[in-house]
């Protein structure tokens, strides 16, 4: 036995079983040639270490999307299959089980969510099920860990079923009916408190206010965790420990080209992590101390929303709007994440099914979704003039998001399938599984996104030191004045905005602009281009060609929106 593959329907607690079985050494990676993520780890069986793979959830072995295709391919490499089955939903789950047993791979069944069957008045005769299927069946409660030991010790007993032979789809449904009749008894199901909450959160009249509340709370938590990580962990580390080391290095190198690249320029004789622009200063500070803390808190929050079962309900509630923008309800996830930091937003776009949906989602994210840091700065510079001006910026962005979405959904080629998703019952998330999931995602981010980030900073750095950025700034200043009605110097803010949007918003302040000019500048700054971090991730996710198209759309939108705003708000 070398490789165990976990197979099962989505939402059966498969990843919780996975995190129970594996140690700390798990990695999430991208299945080659797809945007499907899967997790891999090691576990001990007897005295041997074997590889264990958590395949994407699938309802059948005749795949209807990319994730299911990947699951089927993974099955081919399995020495043993653990089929995780939702005991509260046995009938539906058995379809995949039968398909698995029809193949000649040793299989064992984990009858998960076993504890819930009691509350729901479902009685399953485990022994009889084992007899019918002719493979070992172990009852588990992955959340509490119950039955996991037995599952591990029973792994060696995994076997090829002799009773289940290949059959047609119709025969399979008949077989399932027979098995259910023999092994399952369902007494009357009470409408529980949990069902009431489930109903309330999906009906529009109550669901929409609750959704707004949940989103608001989620944001608050993300900001709270992110800010505290920065203030108490990342900033002190960079300022107190890392900076003195760099200052030594700085003296040792002396001035010259190498210093310009590595350290950058000193501000008042000292390294300023935001402004020095060196590879070892800003180049490391931005990804690690400015972006990473938010990524951590975002992924943590996202995992909670996912594992509790809330996301599919949110997707149902907003499907309507997003369908008109060429996506479906799941499109809320990248948008939602992007409002915190565009980087996880750009990464989340991969959960959408088709290329068209991913392209629209990413482009809209880059165009009209300001990140938390930028939002804070917009409040900062426009706050003194009154709420009206702030509303103006966000209203414009919202209109741009919707309008651009409607236009893109008409012109981007490809399909945008309708929403079709399971609404799982609410479940208490497992802390262990959440932390593990968060950690796996962070690790993936560190390995896959950070190198691109550093590379991006490196390129900007080179362009800066050869004077290209200054040249671009002065070349752009007439555009600023004529089209947008802004002072020419504002072009410099746009260029810095490539690195840090919040910083760029701050650079608008010394230019002594009128409130309306600030509104225009803040809006354009959001639209024209994503920050280098997001840009790098988008290039990777969309590919160079699509990213170039997206970039053209961004710049064109910035010019159109900025020009229109100037005419409407300032006059010709």
């Amino acid at each position: 036995m070398k490789r165990i593959v976990l197979m099962g329907n989505p939402n059966v607690g498969k990843s919780v079983v996975f995190s129970r079985l594996t140690g700390a050494n798990v990695v999430t990676s991208n299945y080659p040639g797809t945007t499907v993520d899967f997790s891999k780890g090691k576990m001990r069986v007897g005295d041997k270490k074997v590889e264990i793979i958590d395949a994407p959830g699938t309802y059948s072995l005749e795949p209807s999307n990319k994730a299911e295709e990947v699951a089927v391919e993974m099955l081919a490499s399995a020495d043993v299959v653990i089929n995780v089955v939702d005991a509260t939903n046995l009938e539906r789950n058995l379809f995949l089980t039968l398909e698995l047993l029809e193949r000649d791979i040793p299989t064992i069944i984990a009858l998960n969510l076993w504890d819930e069957t009691h509350h729901l008045g479902i009685e399953i005769d485990k022994e009889k099920l084992q007899e019918e299927l002719d493979v070992p069946v172990v009852a588990t409660v992955a959340l509490s860990g119950e039955g996991i030991k037995e599952l591990v010790t029973s792994l060696e007993k995994a076997k090829v079923s002799k009773k289940i032979e290949p059959m047609s789809e119709k025969e399979r449904w008949i077989k399932i009916g027979e098995i259910i009749k023999k092994v399952e008894k369902v007494s009357h199901r009470h409408h529980t408190f949990r069902d009431k909450i489930a109903d309330m959160t999906i009906k529009p009249s109550t669901g929409i206010p609750i959704a707004i509340l949940i989103i608001f709370c989620a944001f608050w938590v993300v900001r709270f965790i992110g800010e505290n990580l920065i203030t108490y962990i990342f900033d002190p580390f960079f300022e107190e420990i890392y900076k003195p080391l760099l200052m030594h290095l700085n003296e040792w190198i002396g001035s010259g080209f190498i210093r310009d690249i590595l350290i950058g320029k000193l501000v008042d004789g000292n390294i300023d992590f935001m402004e020095s622009m060196g590879m070892l200063t800003t180049g490391l500070y931005v990804p690690f101390a400015a972006v990473l803390p938010y990524i951590m808190s975002f992924y943590f929050m996202l995992s909670i929303l996912e594992d509790s079962g809330y996301l599919p309900r949110l997707a149902t509630l907003v499907d309507n709007i997003f369908h008109k923008l060429g996506m479906h309800g799941h499109g809320i996830v990248p948008l939602f994440l992007g409002l915190g930091c565009n980087v996880p937003g750009a990464l989340a776009a991969r959960t959408l099914e088709t290329r068209k949906q991913r392209f629209i989602s990413s482009t809209l994210l880059a165009i009209a979704v300001p990140c938390m840091a930028q939002t804070a700065m917009i409040f900062g510079i426009l706050g003194p003039y009154g709420l009206y001006y702030i509303v103006l910026v966000f209203l414009t962005l919202a209109i741009v998001y919707v309008t651009a979405g409607i236009i893109l959904s008409k012109f981007v080629k490809g399909e945008s399938p309708e929403i079709f998703l399971e609404i799982p019952p609410y479940r208490m998330p497992s802390i262990k599984a959440i932390l593990k999931k968060t950690w796996m995602r962070i690790r993936w981010f560190l390995g896959d996104a950070i190198p691109w980030l550093i590379f991006g900073v490196f390129i900007v750095n080179i362009l800066y030191s050869i004077g290209f950025l200054d040249w671009l700034g002065s070349a752009l200043s007439p555009v600023m004045e004529k089209i947008f009605g802004l002072p020419g110097e504002a072009s410099l803010a746009l260029i810095i905005g490539f690195l840090r949007k919040d910083l760029a918003v701050g650079m608008l302040l010394p230019l002594k602009m009128k409130a309306m000019q600030l509104v225009i500048a803040a809006t354009i700054l959001t639209i024209y281009f994503p920050c280098v971090a997001t840009f790098a991730v988008l290039v990777k996710e969309l590919g160079i060609k699509d990213m170039l198209k997206a970039t053209m759309i961004m710049i064109a939108t910035a010019i159109m929106v900025g020009g229109t705003m100037k005419i409407l708000l300032i006059g010709l």
Partner: protein, 78 residues
């Protein structure tokens, strides 16, 4: 009893699925998710403005878009 599309079913009324219209792939996709001929289901909620429909299949629930729901024919259970 006449079969009607799922989109026309009043809220919370129990109905039996009688037919799923569409290609093999579509039918299978619905069936493995629990939407099968003979199954008794009920509409939990419909989102406004031709939004998706959420269906309860006795414990498990699923959200389907309007276009798909139109192709699922049901009859009201007495």
């Amino acid at each position: 009893m006449e079969a009607i599309p799922l989109t026309m079913v009043p809220h919370a009324k129990e109905v039996r699925i009688v037919e799923i219209r569409g290609g093999h792939g579509f039918q299978r996709k619905m069936r493995v998710m629990g939407l099968r001929e003979g199954k008794i289901v009920k509409v939990v909620t419909k989102q406004p403005l031709h939004g998706p429909i959420t269906i309860d299949m006795g414990g498990s629930q699923v959200t389907v878009g309007m276009g798909m729901a139109k192709r699922i024919l049901v009859e009201v259970v007495k």
